[in-house]
Symmetry: C2
Subunit: 508 residues, 2 copies
């Protein structure tokens, strides 16, 4: 056995095609590799020009077998896992049982299913739809095959947004509010995949977010809350492998189970799912929002979790800032009582809903009071400190990019619309989320009256060439619409379709 020289994340071997023929294995079938008293089953890659007596293997295989470069191993064909049979049955229309789902998820996690097999499952679920029963099975199995956060507390509150609206730093306000009122809220978040900033990217401006599960537990037991990156915690790890397939195809049939699995894994008992709704959001209509809400609520019920879905206004960015540092600043300002009204209302509404679910009356008023009194700000600083950040940080300490471009109104009128996707695109071109100080800062929101020459928004970048990329893109795009409603009957002329017309929900 010879080393390929990398760790592929799942065991990987390559053999010559003449050897494959001899063994009677086809590409993507399995072989068992045995060394001394250990054996491992892996999917086989078939290539040319490898010596007949050589099998190439990734470091994963060497480590598992405790073998060394040059070790003599025995290679035999191995039958496919039974989970493949279940996937093939699903393709032909059979619904999956819990035992079948569990076997599939275990094999996804261990890397025993090939990409072809996993893609077939994902694409099939996309085309024929997953039943609520199956969503529940996948949620449960995905949670059970990963780490579990054991806090031994009840209730455990949580919130999650399905995303799609740029600038949504609601979590950075909700978590300190809830924790400051004595409730436990262990929030894990993702980084941005297609947006200018994920919650983990925003929080990282204020404090480290890559913690171990034990560290998370310590932070939560001390402060009642946390805001950490979920990626390093191995909660529902099947989801990462599923996203790897969904992402290039821009489809997301697993978004309900994967969100719910992560909530289950941290022991949440009361969860608000934020569903931003409207033109420019992922969910376009209130009807569609109801449809998705039903799945979340029902899957939650079966998992023993109370779920409320909050359909929120999603037709423009939340607040004014987009990009990690700009948004961290705005969140901090909000907790200091100087936040934009839409962000304050959204955060207070979601916190209030959560509080209502655990029997608190006037939850929204209490949330607003926690902000006004500075109690939530104090709690945020506790959480920042517990996660290893600077608890004294002030908005103006947060560094921003110094390459600026302001876009001005070319005519007078009312701001009729702000295009979420275009704004997110511009912010990403400017460098967000990789350049933390990059993004877009709005100067107006829908309904504002502007005069010709008024600033509409500012692009912020750390690097000049990225600012130029964003500026160049503006030549073709129209991020903000200004006019008089009664003289603007044409809503949109569609002649160019932007890639990913319906944004998949893969930031979860």
């Amino acid at each position: 056995m010879k080393a390929l020289g990398f760790l592929s994340g799942k065991p990987m071997v390559v053999i010559d095609d003449s050897v494959a023929q001899l063994l009677g294995v086809k590409p993507h079938e399995r072989v068992e590799v045995r060394y001394r008293d250990k054996e491992i089953v892996t999917i086989v890659n078939v290539a040319g020009e490898i010596a007949q007596d050589v099998i190439l293997a990734s470091d994963d295989v060497f480590r598992y077998l405790e073998a060394e470069d040059g070790s003599e191993v025995e290679v035999t064909p191995s039958p496919p896992p039974s989970s493949l049979e279940y996937i093939k049955n699903r393709l032909k229309g059979t619904r999956l049982s819990y035992e079948e789902v569990k076997a599939i998820v275990e094999d996804i996690v261990s890397g025993s299913l090939s990409e072809i097999e996993l893609t077939a499952l994902v694409t099939t679920m996309y085309h024929v739809g997953m039943s609520v029963e199956e969503m529940y099975y996948f949620s449960k199995a995905m949670a059970e095959t990963g780490e579990i956060l054991e806090l031994n507390r009840k209730p455990i509150l949580d919130k999650h947004s399905i995303g799609g609206v740029p600038g949504d730093k609601t979590t950075l306000v909700v978590v300190p509010v809830i924790a400051s009122l004595g409730y436990t809220i262990p929030k894990t978040s993702s980084r941005a995949i297609t947006s200018p900033a994920g919650t983990a990217d925003r929080v990282e401006v204020l404090a480290p977010v890559t913690l171990s599960l034990d560290e998370v537990k310590e932070v939560v037991l001390k402060t009642n809350g946390c805001m950490v990156w979920g990626g390093s915690l191995h909660l529902a790890p099947a989801d990462d492998k599923i996203i790897r397939v969904e992402y290039p195809l821009a489809i997301d049939p697993f978004f309900v189970p994967s969100i719910m699995a992560k909530k289950k894994a941290v022991g949440s008992t009361h969860v608000v799912i934020d569903i931003p709704t409207g033109r420019g959001a992922k969910v376009k209509t209130i009807g569609e929002g109801h449809y998705i809400a039903k799945d979340f609520i029902e899957v939650g019920r079966r998992l023993g979790m109370e779920v409320t879905c909050a359909l929120t206004y999603g037709e423009q960015p939340i607040g004014y800032a987009m990009g990690p540092a700009l948004e961290a600043r705005e969140a901090l300002l909000t907790l200091k009582g100087k936040g934009p009204t839409d962000l304050v209302d959204k955060a207070a509404s979601i916190a209030g809903t959560l509080l209502g679910m655990v029997g608190v009356e006037n939850g929204k008023a209490m949330a607003l009071e926690a902000i006004k009194s500075g109690r939530a700000e104090k709690k945020l600083r506790e959480i920042i400190e517990a996660q290893g950040g600077d608890p004294e940080v002030e908005p103006e300490d947060i560094p921003l990019g110094d390459k600026l471009l302001t876009v001005y109104a070319e005519s007078e009128g009312i701001v009729l619309w702000i295009n979420n996707k275009v704004m997110a695109y511009i912010a990403r071109l400017a460098g967000a989320p990789v350049d933390k100080g990059a993004g877009v800062l709005l100067k107006v929101k829908i309904g504002d009256l502007v005069k010709k020459g008024d600033p509409l928004f500012q692009i912020v970048a750390e690097r000049a060439y990225k600012l130029q990329l964003a500026e160049k893109a503006l030549e073709e795009l129209r991020p903000i619409g200004i006019g008089k409603p009664q003289e603007q009957m044409l809503i949109e002329s569609i002649s160019f379709v932007m890639p990913h017309e319906r944004l998949p929900i893969i930031e979860r």
Copy 2:
């Protein structure tokens, strides 16, 4: 750039995940690798524990770039091909145009689409169905992206069986018959994937089948016919890559275009598609056969090809022999006038249909006469010689396995059914098609009267342990049913479902 040490059939590179993050590429996205004045775009594999300044690459990349182990290369992110956008559109329901199909097929051939992307296309076509228009587009594009056999003759006759019935050596009789009557029939065939023998496996017992396209041309111009393995000719090469995805999933949405593409690539003008029909065949009912026939005929029409579909009786093996050598013997015997009636009738019917299509009257009678007169046998020997085999070969010269097991009737009655799938399975366990001398030799066919103790069939193997495997499997399986029809009202009790209940058509 460091060498992975193998030729993967499509360019493959591996980089460290820290480098991927730096470049902003996700697994399965693309990078451009540049060396001196050459560049290549490849899908990127992301792994761990690779040095930051190293990119691992398969030999395909080194050869294309004319680089050496250790060469300094430049790596930059590269956008996905537009074919990915077409596949994503297809997922969402848009039918494909010819230009889109062409781009997809070109990228399949060049390896520019990841397995995830190709699987999504295949699974989508399986779930939502391919329109006849799309079948035609894929047929045309698949033919155009491969080699073309230019014979400059007309008409060019051809036949193809969608398979599923073991022992079907009809081609070995039809080709010499047609060629002996002065018509051109350049037959390419596949090897077995799930059956005991493919036509290429059968012919290989008599003559080499791995020829170059120039050699094929020479053989056909000399003898009017050939029987070669299609796999080495690069006709419609996209099909191999599609089958690699279809096979593990046991689905076959591309079978019509891939069969038709290969017919187009050899310039066929008149084609008979044999659709074995009935219990135990791939196509269970005559209605289903009509449905499939419609697609073949219509796609053929658009390709400028006349197609007739022959629905043939497929409820038991053709002739008595299954396995490469056993079948080659039986075919040779048939051309010597000593063939089983069903094989003779099937071959003469298909040859007769082909002859009828080019205006010959009494084609079937002419075909039977070509067999009876020895004219077809003489032609077979010419073809064998032209392909490099021994033209003097006689049936008894063909070596068979010497490990034998005969199964006897346990009761008296009429042979009511012979299970195709069980027979194929037993023959494969005995060693076919890898062990050319292995297989099953029937002693009875449906309708025969047997007495207790009469031989029903014989298992032939080259290796004792394989004979034992086949023998052991017989404990659980019932390959032949014997009884009196009027006392056998129970057709089947289904309690155990064999894997791959509906056999996919991937031997094509």
